[in-house]
């Protein structure tokens, strides 16, 4: 007599393995045991038959066919391709925006900072005496001999930072002219005239050039504010001293020949034109045009970036 518990357990055990048995996936020892059980168990035989019937029905099920094709449109690209284009577009947009901001900055500087710079010689307040007196020492940094002579006469201590940034007083400008910053000073043995100073915004470079020319002339005179009296009365240059306004450097350059009426100097002194610094009246419109062009470019690129980004997100691009 068989134990019902063992018998029930045997049915369950067999039932769990029928699926693998149908697919011939049951390991040999288990398959052997299952086949032995099936031989004496009608219930499990029926179960196996119904399971085979179910599987056969599934295999006979009619195959559905789609009503259309699923080919992708040719212009579709995998994820990486539009992303690269999108990155390039974003970079271009950022670059255009950066350029636009830079141009606006330049515009502001030209409009306000440039105006201040050009108005500086005329509207400049009186410089403190120690600043003016420091100028010879500033030139001494570039020229040893002049520095030595100026150190002997300069009574006040120097502040190097101030000396480097302060423009020459207008009184000195009336006496001396100098080649523009960066230009080679004229080296001629016959150059005996006292140097005249053409005011060019810039400061220390001018004075250095002035000091050099003074040394070459053999004149121990200090460039720039040679007299203490000139410092507190640093008034804008008068037209009689510098015929052209110092506020407009390009137009002031031809003047020095007439400013110092020394005949010897006129013979040998070359007229050195200052660097062709474009006036703000010429530069500003160009900057504004550039700003407008960059603004349009940035807006266009930004719109394009947004469109491409949306398309790539929705998978249409």
């Amino acid at each position: 007599m068989s134990n019902p518990q063992i018998e029930r357990n045997g049915h369950e055990w067999a039932e769990e393995r029928l699926s693998d048995y149908i697919d011939d996936r049951l390991p040999f020892p288990e398959r052997n045991r299952l086949e032995q059980h099936l031989q004496g168990c009608e219930r499990c035989q029926a179960s196996l038959a119904s399971l085979r019937w179910t599987v056969s029905l599934l295999k006979r099920a009619p195959a559905p066919t789609p009503s259309r094709s699923f080919f992708l449109p040719v212009e579709q690209k995998p994820a990486g391709v539009p992303l690269f284009g999108l990155a390039a577009l974003r970079f271009a947009t950022a670059l255009a925006t950066l350029l636009l901001v830079s141009l606006i900055g330049i515009d502001l500087i030209l409009q306000f900072g440039g105006a201040n710079a050009t108005a500086r010689p005329a509207a400049r307040p009186l410089s403190p005496p120690h600043v003016a007196l420091s100028q010879p020492s500033a030139s001494s940094a570039s020229d040893q001999s002049v520095g030595a002579s100026s150190a002997a006469t300069a009574p006040l201590p120097l502040t190097p930072g101030a000396a480097a940034t302060v423009a020459p007083p207008p009184a000195a400008k009336a006496q001396s002219t100098v080649a523009p910053a960066g230009a080679q000073p004229f080296r001629s043995a016959g150059l005996t005239s006292t140097p005249t100073y053409a005011p060019i915004p810039g400061g220390s470079g001018e004075r250095t050039a002035s000091a050099k020319s003074a040394t070459e002339n053999g004149s121990p005179t200090r460039p720039g504010p040679l007299t203490l009296g000139a410092v507190p009365t640093a008034a804008p240059p008068e037209p009689t001293q510098t015929p052209t306004s110092p506020a407009v450097p390009p137009t002031a350059t031809p003047a020095p020949a007439t400013a110092t009426p020394s005949p010897g100097a006129l013979e040998s002194k070359p007229v050195v034109p200052p660097p062709s610094a474009p006036s703000t009246s010429v530069v500003l419109p160009a900057v504004r045009i550039g700003e407008l062009a960059l603004l349009f470019l940035a807006v266009f690129l930004g719109s394009l970036t947004v469109m491409v980004g949306r398309r790539s997100r929705t998978g249409k691009g």
């Binding site: 056969s56 029905l57 789609p66 094709s69 992708l72």
Partner: protein, 200 residues
Amino acid sequence: MDEKAYINAAQKGDTAAFNQLVRIYQALVYRTAFRVLGDGPAAEDATQDALVSAFKNIRGFRGGSFKAWLLRIITNTCYDKLRVKQRRPTASLDALMLNPEDPPPGLERAPSISPQEWAEQRELNAAIQRGLATLPADQRVTLVLVDIEGLAYEEVAESTGANVGTVKSRLSRARAHLRDFLVAQEELVPSHYRLKSGRF
């Protein structure tokens, strides 16, 4: 060109090469979606979504069975659609407007089949779909891939992200469940295919 060459070309952005893969696998993908979702238009949508997703992500395919990779995408797409359907049950307008005598969308009569055979096949299909609808999604997918599409356990394991033991277990339970359903609802099965007909 073989399948690997098509895959390589598609990974470089060649849509035409990917369409060759679509040509090879679209029927399999659609059939799987149809059996899992039980609805022709929904299966078409799922197939389209899965193939577009496959093309977008084909750079992430790192070798192995492309068929299994594609089936994994379609099964995941089907799971998503089933979840949405469960959350927001909807009735298909197409299904409501169709004549019950008409074949369901996605099933077309082959010219070689007689009208009687076609009628029986439609009945059989309806019975199977009803039975499949009673199964949990993971069992349904496993049963469809093994017994209808004829994939090996290992392929199904790769397609569903499960191990082979889980596939065996799911398949055993799914078969037993469907068998119980079909035996209980045997009148749904055409007489020609019934168990008692002695043909099985």
